[in-house]
Subunit: 311 residues, 2 copies
Amino acid sequence: MSLTVVGSLAFDAVKTPFGSRERMLGGAATHFSLAASFFDEVRPVGPVGDDFGPEDWAVLQTRGTITDDVEHVPGGKTFFWAGEYSDNLNDRVTHVTDLNVFADFQPKLSPAAQECDVLFLANIQPDLQLGVREQCHRARFVAMDSMNFWIDSAREDLERTIRSVDCLILNDEELEQLTGKPTTVAAAEEILSWGPRAVVAKQGKYGAALFSDAGFFALPAYPLAEVIDPTGAGDSFAGGFVGYVAAQGDEPIDHDLLARAMAYGTALASYNVEEFGTERVARLTADEVAARVADLQRMTRFDLAPLTLRG
Amino acid sequence: MSLTVVGSLAFDAVKTPFGSRERMLGGAATHFSLAASFFDEVRPVGPVGDDFGPEDWAVLQTRGTITDDVEHVPGGKTFFWAGEYSDNLNDRVTHVTDLNVFADFQPKLSPAAQECDVLFLANIQPDLQLGVREQCHRARFVAMDSMNFWIDSAREDLERTIRSVDCLILNDEELEQLTGKPTTVAAAEEILSWGPRAVVAKQGKYGAALFSDAGFFALPAYPLAEVIDPTGAGDSFAGGFVGYVAAQGDEPIDHDLLARAMAYGTALASYNVEEFGTERVARLTADEVAARVADLQRMTRFDLAPLTLRG
């Protein structure tokens, strides 16, 4: 089995109420790969520049991730993003977005990357996502992310791409924006009518919800007293979620399997935000992941005792 | 067993994207009583004016609620609130707050109301809450709500009142505001150190989380494609939650019992928002409540299959 992800590899400058980093490894494909590498052999696809150093390659290759499809653009600079979070981490402002080598990125997948069983299209231009999706005709599960920028600027391409995948993973407010519906439930129902068999609404610090033809499932975020840096939480969630699906072999990808995948995504995302950038997940252990998944099961389970209500 | 609630009885004028009402029965004690009446004999305490008509008394008396402690102030007018919700119901603006008979409200509890087993202090002036709490010395479980207005204007009274109760039920952002902590988890830990044995963070459309010495529990809101009027959702939640506790007799009020109570609170709140004001909960049936509680259990349960992660 193998798992391909296409998306950004980047350097981030981040300031949060708890500290800052001038330049750290980031990008959606990076955070996704680090999380998904617990479950399967991952092949990230994306461009980097001359400034992508040996230590960056080493982090990306954590737990056996194969970087053959990471394209080094000679003379280029790696995508750079700088942003700052508000005191309660609920809002962030972007100070710098230098696309650099990402500006002219045309994903070219090796035969090995094309033959993946599972594919994740991280947040890039929707027509590029669709092009990659069409190269991976053997994939038994394709999931994608996107963002408000593409809803505003490339709506038709985005809708066409969503119609080609199995699962859309998007922030709840973006789901509502995309569909014009006033609730996440109505928005997810609309997306399911387009073709995907599952929709995951990311709710930030509140957790995530899964919608499929078989129903609804939701998990809170793992409770943390301190959040240091939310950057990459959504991609770490996707890495745990999609990675879990990839690790299930030929088991039917049904609602219950996706619900279990949500728990792994939630656990990975919770570790991601405990430190800056990739710092925490790069040294994370399998036992730590398993412990939080078990915690989440306990923290959401309740038993019903018989009770006669007044009529 | 009996359950006393002190709080507002009101008329509301509400406008949402889905319609409006010029004058409907509302108020925290009203919504709380309608929800809690599924579980126990409820005694609301609060003032009303001459405009509180026979049909309003009848709604309040749904499922046997005893209105002996509702104080009719001759010549007075009932508390009136007018507000309007934004398109996605996330924000609301208040157009009118006429306190009327509520301005001079001094809670006077009858002996029967004072001898309650369980007490809920809905959102009123903190020193009035404390006065009621001290009248109900036999209560084995006392919960309270509050709001940002009192955090800003009566912080010391509020903290003193919180220290006297068993459970604080508050919006998550207000918990953070009250404690100056950047996360709900840190805020809840701070409140637990003040004395309450439980904190419930209300998260609006995302659900609610429970914090106690025994740990963390969270439930999503019941998934609804359409929300007509969120007014009173928090008080309906409290009515289901506190009502469930009241119905458990002498069973120890531990984390697991409170987790089950969260499910009833969540179910009641979900029905409340389906129609305007008290319309839906007034005609709700016990079977409908039980059905949503069972749904919530199913929608949050996941089973873990053995999985070896890559190291």
